[in-house]
Symmetry: C2
DNA sequence: ATTTTTTAGTGCGCCAACACACAGAGTTCA
DNA sequence: TGAACTCTGTGTGTTGGCGCACTAAAAAAT
């Protein structure tokens, strides 16, 4: 892990939707214990089974949750950007990460050690509720991914994943290689090459050597399975009050 | 839904592991609000999105949690027997079922309406902890199923499912058809026929017209993917104190 | 006892994804 | 400038599961 502390010099205050949704007082108490850190591509924040040392609120960074599989590579079961947080299961009072957590998109995050987080959690019913809601959404999205992985072809799954990442990257262009995508979606690299090439030919995306650009977002949404919409719907339904 | 009230006449007291793990006082308070009911095969307790009217503690019944998929049939993402309960997400204070819940194995269950359950939940830290632990286990098993569904062939998945069902049925023989299994595992009926036939030829199971018998449990464990063991491990790790 | 319904087994062509291997092109570094 | 490395594209044969259609046999209903 190669995390650096970052001076919070930017004029725009760092933004995480869940933090923003907290009452000002609760948020301030929490922020006092937070560090703004930079997360680098492929950093591993923790592995399944590890103790949860810190909670992360991504700002621009994107975190992949990966379920490891004996013998196989693994399978992404969740994606965390500034709409969420990493470490939500702490609300279940179990100090054990259910999944690998690795950085899929470099950027900053607010980090807080588990002990102060748990202390604030006890004091803040608003934070408790937010975590419960986010956990509920995560469970729904996990099941959605399970079904999607079973029934939908790679091209549609890839389109969905690109949309989810674009939402969290807040940019049309981001860094990703076919190899990494293959790992995430649990398919061969060649499968990604083929699917990506198809999306390219349809002029929905463009890419070269690790840089993907969304060209036609509406088209990509049409090319994706509606699991993408389903995920958004459940988030809006449960966490609708949270500003995006 | 065709549920009948059942006289709790049996000499052996009905047994649900989670209820049994509660302190006697908390359990008694809860049981006062419980009805012992009979659940019939294919009963639908609720659909995804429904309000959670009741919580169910299976005794001999087995409940399937199914994530519906637009266009496709659905995919089982959880199995609840007397080692668990249905309605665990109520602890997240969200009155919305994340999955379909349908009876996969007929039998009795203790049922309690949501309002008294929530009231008892507030009063019983032991019940709160148990639900948190069970929810954590369920999340892990959900991810396990997601990965299993992606990477393992039907025959191994079928073997795993038969073992899970045998555990919950507490019997070597139970009622199940190929059509139902196909729905549950998200494959064609013919795929089940083929896989079941293979297990039959290996003398691990026997079956005829809706009745399956486990013949060689050790052999079946060897034929299953280790997702079966992984599920058991996480349950034992988190809920190890709970008697089986 | 005959018909109808339910459940299981078989055959055929098809396709998405697999495994493995290698080629070409851009990037980095010496 | 050339070598080493990284990333993407292509080719060949294989396979697990799909869709569809039909047969066979057991159970239930009339």
């Amino acid at each position: 892990m190669n995390q650096q502390h970052v001076q919070p010099t930017s004029a725009i205050p760092p933004h995480n939707c869940l933090l923003a949704a907290l009452p000002a007082q609760d948020r301030e108490r929490l922020l006092k214990h937070c560090d703004l850190i930079a997360l680098n591509f492929a950093d591993v924040l923790y592995c399944a089974g590890d103790s949860i040392s810190h909670v992360y609120f991504p700002i621009e960074s994107i975190i992949s949750l990966v379920k490891p599989v004996a013998g196989s590579s693994g399978l992404e079961v969740g994606l965390v950007g500034n709409e969420g947080l990493l470490g939500v299961t702490l609300i279940l009072e179990i100090d054990r990460a259910p999944f690998h957590a690795l950085i899929q998109g470099a950027g900053t995050a607010l980090r807080i050690a588990a002990p102060p987080f748990l202390k604030e959690l006890k004091q803040s019913p608003a934070l408790q509720l937010l975590l419960k809601q986010y956990l509920y959404v995560s469970i729904n999205q996990l099941a959605q991914t399970a079904a999607c992985t079973r029934f939908h072809v790679v091209e549609k799954r890839l389109a969905r994943w690109l949309l989810m990442t674009q939402d969290r990257a807040h940019a049309d262009t981001f860094h990703i290689t076919h190899v990494f995508l293959a790992y995430i979606l649990g398919v061969r690299r060649v499968g990604i090459t083929k699917a990506a090439n198809s999306l390219l030919k349809q002029k929905l995306i463009s890419y070269r050597r690790g840089i993907v650009t969304i060209v036609d977002r509406a088209g990509l949404e049409a090319a994706a399975c509606n699991c993408y919409q389903a995920d958004n719907n459940i988030y809006a339904l449960i966490l609708g009050g949270v500003e995006k």
